[in-house]
């Protein structure tokens, strides 16, 4: 396609062809406070729950999220993980391990409150039922066949 054709056929073709029209040009702008800022230093958010911070910085940031404070064994693992810098593999692996423990703690917490999690609902499998019935039926049949096969093998060994 020629440039003339592109300009005709493609909405907005070339509107930002000049680098100067692109918002991130030049790449690094002159340092200045962002539009909307009316402070020299931001106020510090009060720490009201346990917040970890990377040891690559001196303390917590001016603001931070307070969702889901650490709890239980997963919290202990996270507490340990934040003693290592972000460049250490163990930092991230411990956090991933804590995430898996947290899932078990979440399930136990549900059961402790007398709530049995509706896994079918939580996994959104109704979407399969509504939109791809065959795949769900196929998957269920495969699972059923697998379970029957395992049962048959166990009985045979017994």
């Amino acid at each position: 396609m020629t440039t003339t054709k592109m300009a005709t056929n493609i909405p907005g073709w070339g509107a930002d062809a000049r680098p100067a029209d692109r918002p991130a040009f030049p790449r690094l702008s002159e340092p200045r406070p962002a539009v909307g800022v009316h402070w020299k230093q931001p106020d510090q958010q009060r720490v009201t729950t346990e917040i970890f911070h990377s040891i690559e910085r001196p303390g917590v940031t001016a603001v931070f999220g307070t969702a889901c404070p650490p709890r239980g064994i997963s919290g202990m693992i996270r507490r340990r993980a934040y003693k290592y810098s972000e460049s250490r593999m163990r930092h991230w692996l411990m956090l991933l391990a804590a995430d898996r423990v947290d899932v078990v703690e979440g399930l136990l917490g549900d059961l402790g409150r007398g709530r049995i999690p509706n896994l079918f609902k939580e996994m959104g499998l109704a979407a399969e039922y509504k939109r791809k019935t065959l795949r769900l039926v196929g998957g269920s049949m495969l699972l059923g066949a697998g379970a029957l096969m395992v049962g048959w093998m166990v009985r045979r060994r017994a």
């Binding site: 062809a17 918002p23 800022v37 990377s54 910085r57 917590v60 956090l95 999690p117 939580e122």
Partner: protein
């Protein structure tokens, strides 16, 4: 209030949660009017992002109406209808002063390498997100933007992440008039990157994916030349053959950690998680782009390491550019494009669901059911 909460890999629930409160003088509380599910939410949903805690509410693409205002807020009032960039930025740190709002150093205590993002694990600040009826928005005088005239609520929600990320991907590709640009990934970000490449004067825009309905959409909506890599024996070889043996001038990775297409990458990156996601698209981008070309990366990867052909990047003299989108920096220009009718971002929305259907919406998006490209959550009954 009702909010989506994470329960574990592939499991989310909608439940009653305490409403957020002002925790810092420059906070506002928003009544969420639209919230989108982003492709990168799927990395959380699949349990791939470290420090994703059970009970967290996801959602970093949302619009809303200001419900409560902190004592130091000057630029917003109760009742203002705003769109909120996915980055939380202080406006005054070293990086914000240079308009790198995706790299703010004063909003995420948990990781220095990562800026703060709403509802995106504690690795990105530990904030609850907008897939809820209400959300806390810190530094309300910096991030949120009143939705301008001529921009619908649904166009606005696309301006919080997907559209600026796609635009920045094209911008980082340093496109010159007539360039051939290849985009890996026909999801929302890839589609916006394709549209933006044309805005920057590209001569040819190629999109690679394996989800046929998305490729069909890329061809009709973004005027792209599309290829399904499942139908190609060797993607890199194909790209070389259709570009006079040199390769595209620029390649964009708009896929990130969950790329399909290489058994070894999928095994080590997605199943065993011994690397920070499957880097198939990035490897293809590096290997197919022409010598001295540009590879622009907006696909998200984890914090550890990935197997990528960095030696080829060196030998080919490539420029690699990447970042989280600096949304606030791009918004004025992107809104001009919407108002001028050059793009209608809400065209990519395929599904609108009530908040109670979020588990099904995640499953549908994750499994690419029902020709799903972009899902919008309606937190309050319409």
């Amino acid at each position: 209030m009702l909010a989506m909460t994470y329960r574990g890999p592939f499991r989310v629930r909608v439940e009653e949660k305490d409403e957020p409160r002002i925790e810092h003088p420059n906070d506002v509380i928003l009544r969420v009017t639209r919230s989108a599910i982003c492709g990168s939410d799927l990395h959380l949903y699949h349990g791939m992002v470290p420090d994703t805690r059970v009970g967290q509410t996801f959602g970093h693409e949302f619009t809303g109406v200001v419900e409560e205002v902190g004592p130091s807020v000057q630029n917003l009032r109760r009742g203002d209808n705003v769109l909120v960039p996915f980055n939380i930025s202080c406006g005054t740190c070293f990086f914000c002063q240079r308009e790198m709002f995706g790299n703010c150093h004063e909003t995420n205590p948990y990781a220095t390498a990562v800026g703060a993002i709403f509802g995106y694990s504690h690795m990105a600040g530990g904030y609850d997100g907008g897939q809820a009826q209400y959300v806390r928005v810190p530094f309300a005088d910096v991030g949120p933007l009143k939705i301008p005239p001529g921009v619908s609520e649904e166009d606005a929600v696309m301006c919080t992440d997907a559209y600026p990320t796609g635009y920045q991907a094209a911008e980082m590709a340093e496109i010159s008039t007539g360039d051939t640009v290849c985009i890996f990934g026909a999801g929302p970000v890839g589609l916006f990157a394709a549209k933006s490449a044309w805005l920057m004067g590209a001569g040819r825009v190629i999109v690679i994916d394996h989800v046929q309905y998305r490729l069909d959409f890329a061809r009709t909506w973004a005027n792209a030349e599309t290829y399904n890599f499942r139908e190609l024996d060797d993607v890199v070889l194909h790209l070389k053959r259709i570009t006079d043996g040199l390769g595209p001038d620029a390649c964009i990775d708009a896929v990130g950690a969950e790329a399909a297409g290489s058994a070894m990458q999928s095994l080590t990156g997605r199943m065993l998680m011994v690397q920070a996601g499957s880097a198939t698209a990035l490897a293809w981008a590096i290997n197919s782009v022409r010598k001295a070309g540009v590879v622009s990366i907006v696909g998200v990867y984890g914090p550890t390491f990935n197997a990528v052909p960095i030696g080829n990047a060196l030998n080919k003299g490539l420029t690699l550019r990447m970042n989280q989108a600096s949304v606030k920096r791009h918004l004025p220009r992107l809104i001009e494009h919407i108002q001028a009718g050059r793009i209608k971002p809400s065209d990519i929305i395929t599904h609108r669901v009530p908040i109670t259907d979020i588990p099904e919406a995640y499953h549908m998006f994750s499994s690419k059911l029902d020709n799903c490209i972009k899902t919008i959550v309606m937190p309050h009954p319409q």
